[in-house]
């Protein structure tokens, strides 16, 4: 594996940098078309209600209103993202299932008229009791969200690998802990929007989408059209984080409004509507049991989870499987049991948020592992190193792990963070915690069943060779894939990054790619791009061979120069060879595609979590806690990742920072709160508590030297992996600082304060009892976890 690269491995500036810093970059909501109308969707004010009647006549009479549509005007085919449960309709016809469910839509001359028109649509509801608490959604007598899903069970998973009961029976120590994770929301800064227009039977939609291909597939399906008649164009995207992976009412209703009016229609969500559409992180109840030997080696683990799906499935079946599937990655053990119920509630639907399914289970497992370490008197760093996965191993659920340097990550972060010194000497109120994470490098299987390749790419070299354009269906949602893929294309071609252009993504122009999710693009899109680049290079060398009269296999092309490997002859420039190729042989094109190998086992759900490669990482965080207020100050965070060959170091560390930022918010501050009617109480960025620049601690991010043999140039995942350790790392740092464990997310100041107060009360009682027994009071109080019951319920907060 030569590290002799001209283009990859360098922090070249982003290809979209100049456009983005000057405001020239156009996002979907910045686009305007002649004769364009504005569209808005009317949503339900009730969490659960029967629709008795809808009267649109007054809205239709308002000047400036061009169309009003309800369920009568749209296809009734149910849609969703996980094909096993298509359960969502463009508009509700019988009942609404959450505050924000779609009821009708309008197209008007301007935005103001839209809001007026929505107010004039009269919907008569019969309000029904709502299932708002996911912990009780399966109970007898609970309201049914969907009649066809008894006890509100959306997904049920029972998997066992090895012999868990036997291993637990033989274990030196067995412990069970329970944790609760909260609902969070991706909160990209760019709101969702779409512009739909028709040309006869062809539908074109500009959309802020993470996957033009899935949009094209699902929109064609919904309207019973050939895929070739649906064109999805992705302008610049202002963040996604999983929230823009599936078509919304904006695309479906917008397409119908555009068809009816014969005009382009721009539909959009405002911030509150984004929160209501949601598809954010599921709230989860997580019970974890492990058995360990006397050295802390994990012998078996049991995960028993319950997940709040909200009113629809979205990608939630995958989320449910991921929650358990990714748990056995960072530590090696043979016996594993995973049980899960994903339940429907009358709340917005949850889906895939950065780290899909994994961060909360990781929080539970990493917190639990520290409790186990404390029980046995083992250093938290040591118990992780003892259990760390080795390369070229297979998880109990049949995931093959090639490269894996989790042990090196832990050892490095131990040094970087000055772990051993701090562990000994930090005073009460200061604490340090560690946690690990791992994530897929692209999903082994597509979201819907198809044998199409996962990625494809073209490269077109300009006729005079002065530029080359990469055509890809992949999506730069901010992570920098346009830049990284252009680096990879230039490297494979022997060309210069500075001369690369990119077109991404437009389903009519760019070849298939499944898009930005599951941290797949550098690896999978990159594999297709590398192949395309190599095809260009092969043709360039063949042409140069003719021009120089030397065998092609004696020639090399690097940094835009073609030269002989053995002879001292004049080199040719890429430009002159490319031009000659165009004159003599026609357009100079390269093509590539990528399909993963068959992966995973044969049990039910075996596909979810499969991936050709897995990233690994370890984080340490140091916190200071104000005992009076519970306020948490983050002193520093150290992250070390094993993410294979690094294509662009600056962009890579930017991904770690961003993933960590999201994890940090979820750990302590962020939470979507509902009132007792199922209405979101904090559907704004300030009250949702997105962290600002002053909230962020110093972050040190490093990578270990790593090479993934299956990936192009040895690359693997980075974009989501760094979210996975963060929640557990905070939990452990707080535990270390105060000796109390907060068992639910977010680990808010209030919960920490409450836990400290209860700890003091327990100590007072112990002291009094000791005094009564005439004992010396300096007997240490055993570390105890705070019982779950002592905390405020996560949801029912009827203020």
């Amino acid at each position: 594996m030569s590290d002799n690269h001209s283009v990859i491995g360098r922090s070249v500036p982003r290809i979209d940098g100049p456009e983005k810093v000057t405001g020239a970059a156009k996002y979907t909501g910045d686009l305007k078309f002649p004769n364009m109308l504005y569209g808005k969707i009317l949503t339900s004010p009730h969490a659960h209600a029967r629709i008795l009647s809808i009267d649109t006549s007054e809205a239709e009479r308002l000047p400036g209103v061009k169309a009003v549509i309800t369920h009568k005007d749209v296809p009734t085919l149910k849609y969703g993202l996980s094909p096993a449960r298509w359960d969502e309709s463009i508009f509700c016809s019988d009942k609404v299932r959450f505050v924000g469910d779609k009821v009708a839509a309008v197209a008007c001359l301007d935005e103001d008229t839209c809001y007026k028109a929505l107010k004039l649509i009269k919907v008569e509801y019969e309000v029904l009791p709502a299932a708002l608490d996911f912990l009780h959604a399966m109970d007898e007598g609970q309201p049914q969200v969907h009649e066809e899903y008894a006890r509100n069970i959306n997904t049920e998973i029972h998997q066992e690998f090895g012999d868990v009961e036997k291993a637990l029976a033989e274990a030196h120590h067995v412990r069970t802990d329970t944790f609760v994770g909260q609902r969070t929301y991706q909160s990209p800064i760019e709101p969702h929007s779409a512009i739909s227009m028709w040309d006869a039977e062809k539908l074109t939609i500009y959309s802020s989408t993470q996957s033009p291909h899935y949009f094209q597939h699902y929109i064609a399906r919904e309207f019973d059209m050939p895929m070739g008649d649906v064109r999805i164009i992705k302008p610049y995207l202002g963040g996604g984080f999983g929230g823009k992976l599936e078509p919304t009412g904006l695309e479906f209703a917008g397409a119908v409004l555009a068809k009816l009016t014969g005009r382009p229609v721009r539909t959009f969500y405002d911030r509150a509507e984004m929160f209501a559409h949601n598809r954010g992180r599921h709230a989860q109840y997580m019970e974890i049991t492990t058995g360990v030997d006397k050295n802390g080696k994990i012998l078996a683990a049991k995960a028993n989870f319950l997940m709040d799906g909200g009113a629809y499935t979205s990608l939630g079946i995958a989320s449910a499987y991921y929650a358990g599937a990714l748990l056995p990655l960072t530590y090696e053990f043979d016996n594993y049991q995973f049980d899960m119920f994903r339940v429907y509630t009358n709340l917005p639907a949850c889906g895939a948020q950065r780290g899909h399914g994994a961060p909360q289970p990781k929080y539970a497992f990493e917190s639990h592992l520290d409790n186990v370490a404390a029980d046995l008197g083992i250093d938290p760093m040591d118990i992780r190193i003892i259990n760390a996965r080795r390369p070229n191993t297979v998880t109990p659920n049949d995931f093959r792990v090639n490269s894996c340097k989790i042990k090196e990550c832990l050892e490095r972060v131990r040094v970087m963070s000055d772990w051993d010194e701090k562990k000994k000497n930090l005073p009460l109120g200061r604490g340090i915690g560690v946690a690990t994470g791992s994530f897929v490098t692209g999903a082994g299987y597509p979201i819907y069943r198809t044998d199409l390749p996962h990625a494809a790419a073209f490269i077109k070299v300009c006729e005079d060779g002065t530029a080359a354009t990469l055509y890809t269906g992949s999506v730069d949602i901010g992570q920098g894939s346009d830049t990284v893929l252009c680096q990879m294309a230039a490297e494979a071609m022997g060309y210069r990054y500075e001369q690369m252009k990119i077109v991404a993504a437009d389903t009519e122009i760019t070849p298939l790619d499944f898009g930005a999710y599951a941290s797949r693009q550098t690896y999978m899109s990159g594999a297709a791009v590398k192949q395309a680049g190599e095809e260009v290079k092969r043709q360039i060398l063949e042409m140069a061979s003719v021009m120089l009269g030397l065998p092609a296999d004696d020639l090399e092309c690097d940094d835009g120069q073609i030269f002989s490997k053995s002879r001292n002859v004049k080199s040719l420039s890429f430009e002159e060879v490319a031009r000659k190729h165009f004159v003599l042989r026609g357009p100079l094109l390269g093509r590539g595609s990528y399909t993963p190998p068959k992966l995973g086992g044969s049990f039910k759900g075996a596909a979810v979590g499969t991936s050709p490669a897995y990233s690994f990482g370890a984080q340490v965080g140091e916190v200071a806690i104000d005992e009076e207020t519970g306020e948490i100050t983050v002193v520093g965070i150290w992250d070390v990742h094993d993410c294979g060959k690094v294509i662009n170091p600056r962009l890579l560390h930017g991904q770690v920072h961003g993933a960590l930022y999201m994890g940090m918010g979820e750990a302590v501050w962020e939470e979507v709160l509902f009132d007792d009617k199922g209405r979101i109480k904090n559907a704004e960025l300030a009250n949702y508590r997105l962290l600002t620049a002053v909230d962020m601690p110093p972050i040190t991010s490093e990578v270990v030297d790593s090479y993934e043999p299956s990936g192009p140039w040895g690359v693997k995942e980075v974009g989501e992996g760094a979210t996975n350790p963060t929640l557990g790392m905070f939990s452990n740092a707080i535990f270390d600082a105060m000796g109390v464990r907060v068992n639910s997310l977010p680990l808010s100041y209030e919960k920490v304060w409450r836990a400290l107060k209860e700890k003091r009360e327990r100590e007072e009682i112990a002291k009094r009892e000791d005094a009564q027994r005439g004992l010396a009071p300096q007997v240490p109080v055993p570390l105890e976890t705070v019982p779950l019951e002592s905390e405020e319920p996560v949801y029912a907060n009827p203020s």
Binding site: S11, G654, L660, L685, T692, V694
Partner: protein
Amino acid sequence: MAQAITDKDGVKRYLITLNVNGDAHTILVKGNAILTNVLRDQLDLTGTKKGCELGDCGSCTVLLDGKPVDSCLVLAVEADGRQITTIEGVMENGRLDAIQQSMINHAAVQCGYCTPGMVLSAKALLTRNPHPNEQEVREAISGNLCRCTGYVHIVEAVLATAQGRVTPDDH
């Protein structure tokens, strides 16, 4: 006070002049029109982004007489006759401003949606305080939310600009 014109339905509009990036635009706006929408929809200056319309995210930051403001919290009529700088007015003579170049060099841009507001807040800071320390930088951009970067590279980019450490390609 701007001249008001009432249409046949009784809706009042105001004739105002916005001085944007050195160009004077005389336009008619409703009394409740926010500056963000007027810049974007009437003047086609879409570099000013809309993220929340509540003053939370800062994507719509513009300089009003040199001071950074959330343009979604400013009525267009309030900006009548005043000097507005949007992101489109930061480049001079076709050259990137040092803060823009620094944002590129430090990979301080990811999705780019917060970037225009971030650039303007940073520029305003460096104008009033050419040598800020890290805390002052963080405070100056604390009204601009970024969901991508954790602010790490943004803070580095602003500090590098303040310290004169910006070259066209110092990556």
